[in-house]
Symmetry: C2
Subunit: 630 residues, 2 copies
């Protein structure tokens, strides 16, 4: 009733502003967007400012949908008949959510045509709005599978988005005004991130991760009444794809959640990849499996992707905007605007305030900001990391030394983030002659993760983008990189020439790195180089601490003769200095800061140091607390 | 299953300890108690230490129930045939909860007989355990009605207590250990007290009051998910009977709560009286009625009364003990022992750390104490109250002055607490010749409230008890007190001789005081004497501030010519100095103190002053927060 009236009112306003001759056939909430259906999508698109003006005046995210969309099968033929053969079309993906058709081609210019002529022809022929991108240089199986899956659930998605759209735009009934945050995990500890943001009207869960090596079951406190029933959650917001933030999102669907998960597009793809791998690892370890791949599919089906900077209604009184966090591909600081100017709160997720080879530093300017939940992984007074440049020099030195003595370098690394950073450093090292040209073998999910990086070049920093697009030099495609995808090749690597091996898992709790360690640990010419944090209780930590005999499975023992090197400085996190600088620079200055995602002493030390230096109210919350923001 | 095994185990242990010849026919959890049914209740009772030893070894509250209880109707006849006529039996009340029969008599000694001979005869005859009390000198309609009602729901109670008993003694399943308190009202404000104490296993609500003169609906935040479903609450604990703590307890039953409400016996009686009156006032004001008298009955049916000092299991991991709070009749500090020595937390409710005419000062020694939630009504730096003696002197002076000029003194006062304090002061003043002997008229519920006081002499302080029982001087029965219970008498009072009128409501927002004001305000010989706090927004506050024309209903206006006097110092609350002293004296010293139940600036000031003086961690929480205790 009420929602129909709102839609009618919106439709009337739109009709007032649309030039005569353009027909608006329908207006509908679809997920966070207001979809305007028209018989004349092209004419709508030609009125360059029209959408912007409507968005501003209606305060909604506007999308234009053609009333009639051609059947995808037929549309593919039409596109292929219009576009010249030489374009090298590699994929055509219809996104019913947006009414867009994504055309991947080796030569995007040919698809666009002179002054966009070919593109206009396509639009006329098929109704769908064509969007042309360059074919990613490395094909990602994950991206392909996600797209296929999304295509297969088109109709369900349509219904889902309308339901969510109407829920988001429901009438506000409660007259109270308050904003609360409940900590369900990740306080005075690293792992199982889960924060509940609630108002009298709405509830949003930020992240839902697991905690590795936890004596309990490693899940956030999902059993407390605050988030039940899950069906009444308005939204889940995912800051980035690491497992300590995303692993248990499918579990929410198993337990009855039916709403959307908002993330950036790369986060969605990486998260589903890592979740499936997570299930695989658990299965191999004979542990209890928390959910199945069907639940990962439920997550994908309910995912809504947003790019950085897009201000989006996710509940009647909550607007979400993602900002670059600089941590891994697609990682975001989630900024929430609550009520009509009532309150603003941001959750940094994991963030890097330094520039890395892959990403720009985290964003530190927001339109408004009253409260900030920030990570404190390196929040301790002495948690200073070497500069990236020094870290790379040390890596080069180590590689040179080991290769010179005809050894092999094993680098255990997370598939997402750290691996790509190290790859880029090594590739440049070789290109500029700082280290010898040897093969760099990639084992585990690293290649797939790299492929996802090349699918989303707009999420990489401008230097890297320029290198790839302007200078035509994609370092990820360098000849030195060789994917290891069989036991035969793995054996060859072990027995072969001096080389570098980057492989998962990053903390040596399983994964192909174990195979390499097994075969190469005995030879003191080799080296094991740690480039990432080794958590307590992991094999990596033990070796790093000096264990010289470690168990492999239940029966065998590996004797560690190879050299152990730790290269600090490749972290995707801000170090203590950067955390303090971030707080100093963040605009506007928040009234309250909550230090989370760090060991107890680090969160407390950071909170107290921020208070002393900046006189901002700080808290180092415990799990299971609720703080009133306003 | 599991509970049956526990009961069997307990029964075996009991049988081991019971001397041969005493039969234990059944063992059952009934509410918080372990009921031992025996065919030989008297022999059980004769073994003086047996119950104490069982209680200590089994760590349970033990009650002995005769297997066979005589029908109450028949038992009444048996009692009357055994007890000599001259005993003056006024009431016989069978309490199926306890298996006790309460015999009220004007001469209790006659019922007991020489060395308890008559009592033993009664026991033999009827099975019920007789308890003899002196007939209260003023009959309380409330007490009578509550007893009648409880008798009428005997069978339901029996079922209810068994259900609750089994719930309390259920097995603990969750392995996590934490203790949280959620603030649902009464933070940085006075009114709508409601605190949720929760562990992984259990949830307890402390108080459920309303906030007078609230722009919102005046209820605590009962709509947040933390306390839902209400059916899963283990217990409600009521600290005392004032409406800002007890008014909305019946609402919980309307909304689906089915568990027990723990309070002291006088609190139960006073609370039901005030709740019914509360409904009456709302009805008269044509406001929305939150619940009906049927819900008050539900509350009574589910009430479980505990005396001060009785350590009681109320959930598998929570023990409750009430301690005297010195605030009003039956008011208690609620002390919770959590887990097996895990944590201890006390809620003061409203408390008076000074001695008053009616009560001893609040208890400040506990077996263990880690956290304290304390009221801060007079927590501001300047909230010093005059000594009780000075307050009484000022009251006497005022009364003398007004009577001398042939005026009348109107004292608006709360029915419960303040009225009785003022009555005792005035009675003594007359008895000792400090003020003239005039009539003191009592209007509103004051007499009924006084009657409830005389029903529970063990809840009054020792001086007053001695005065009544040893010296035979019950000041409440003094001839000066005259109950006004008709419009005719009210008119006579208005037109009659100089006198004192103590009447409700205490803040002049309704009640018979309005009638007196209407008739007596015009004459400057009269005086209006405030002895209690006048909240913002009440008529009392306006007049106190100096308004000289106040509205009566919608049409009339009252012109205020009579003298306005405020006598501070009769408060049932600790003043600032007493609050600070309480914290200084409380044994053991808690690790954390939360200041609640006070205006924002007072709770903050008190918290910061306690921290400065005693170096105890303090918080001045906001409503809707959750604090982790451990």
């Amino acid at each position: 009733m009420v929602i129909e009236e709102r839609l009618k009112e919106l439709r009337d306003k739109i009709n007032e502003k649309v030039p005569a001759g353009i027909t608006v056939s329908q207006v509908e909430f679809e997920g966070p967007e207001l979809a305007i259906y028209t018989d004349d999508p092209k004419r709508f698109a030609d009125e360059a400012d029209l959408i912007r003006i409507l968005a501003r005046d209606l305060r909604k995210r506007i999308v234009i949908r053609p009333t009639i969309l051609e059947e995808p099968e037929k549309a593919v033929n039409d596109i292929k008949s219009v576009v010249p053969e030489g374009a090298g079309i590699t994929d055509i993906f219809f996104d019913a959510d947006t009414g867009e058709v994504l055309i991947e081609a080796e030569k995007p210019g040919v698809v666009i045509g002179k002054n966009g002529a070919t593109l206009r022809e396509i639009t006329k022929a098929i109704g769908w709005t064509p969007k042309v991108v360059r074919t990613p240089p490395i094909e990602s199986t994950t991206v392909k599978q996600v797209r296929q899956f999304m295509r297969s659930v088109n109709d369900e998605r349509k219904d889902f988005l309308r339901t969510i759209g109407r829920r988001i735009h429901r009438e506000i009934t409660n007259k109270d005004q308050w904003v609360r945050v409940t900590t369900l995990g990740c306080c005075r500890e690293v792992g199982r991130a889960a924060f509940l943001l609630s108002t009298p009207e709405s509830k949003v869960l930020i992240d839902c991760g697991e905690k590795p090596d936890n004596n309990n079951n490693g899940t956030p406190y999902l059993y407390v009444p605050e988030i039940h029933p899950l069906s009444q959650l308005d939204a889940v917001v995912l800051t980035h794809a690491h497992l300590d933030h995303c692993a248990l999102i499918p579990l929410l669907y198993k337990y009855g959640y039916e709403g959307p998960v908002y993330s950036t597009p790369p986060t969605r793809d990486l998260a589903s990849m890592l979740q499936l791998d997570y299930l695989e690892v658990i299965r191999k370890e004979d542990k209890k499996i928390p959910y199945t791949s069907a639940d990962v599919k439920s997550y994908l089906k309910h995912s809504i992707v947003l790019n950085y900077g897009s201000v989006t209604d996710i509940a009647p009184d909550i607007k979400l905007t993602f900002h670059n966090a600089g941590h891994i591909l697609g990682s975001a600081i989630a900024h929430f605007h609550l009520g009509d100017g009532l309150y603003n709160i941001a959750f940094t997720g994991d963030f890097n305030y330094g520039k890395s080879r892959l990403f720009n530093p985290a964003v530190s300017t927001f339109p408004r900001l009253e409260a900030l939940f920030m990570e404190s992984t390196y929040g301790g007074a002495n948690d200073m990391q070497p500069a990236r440049k020094d870290a790379e020099e040390k890596l080069y030195e180590t590689v040179n030394k080991v290769l010179e003595r005809s050894g092999k370098v094993i680098i255990p690394a997370f598939a997402v983030g750290r691996s790509q950073e190290v790859m880029l450093a090594l590739e440049e090292g070789m290109r500029l002659g700082k280290i010898p040209n040897v093969k760099i073998y990639l084992d585990g999910m690293i290649k797939e993760a790299t492929a996802i990086h090349t699918t989303y070049p707009e999420y990489l920093n401008s230097d890297l983008r320029n290198l790839i697009f302007r200078e035509g030099l994609n370092p990820f495609l360098a000849e030195c990189f060789v994917q290891v995808d069989s036991n035969e090749l793995r054996e060859k690597v072990v027995l072969g020439d001096p080389c570098v091996i980057i492989t998962t898992s990053g903390m040596m709790n399983g994964g192909p790195v174990m195979e390499y360690l097994h075969n190469l640990a005995g030879d003191e010419k080799n080296a094991l180089v740690f480039v990432g944090y080794q958590a307590d209780g992991t094999l990596g930590r033990r070796i790093q601490k000096g264990w010289r005999e470690v168990p492999l499975g239940r029966r065998e023992t590996i004797v560690i003769n190879l050299e152990i090197v730790t290269v600090d400085g490749f972290s995707g996190h801000s170090d203590r200095r950067q955390l303090m600088n971030f707080v100093g620079h963040v605009q506007p200055h928040p009234e309250k800061i909550f230090t989370i995602h760090g060991d107890e002493n680090k969160t407390i030390d950071l909170a107290s140091s921020i208070y002393k230096r900046y006189h901002i109210e700080t808290h180092s919350p415990m799990n299971l607390e609720t703080y009133r923001m306003i």
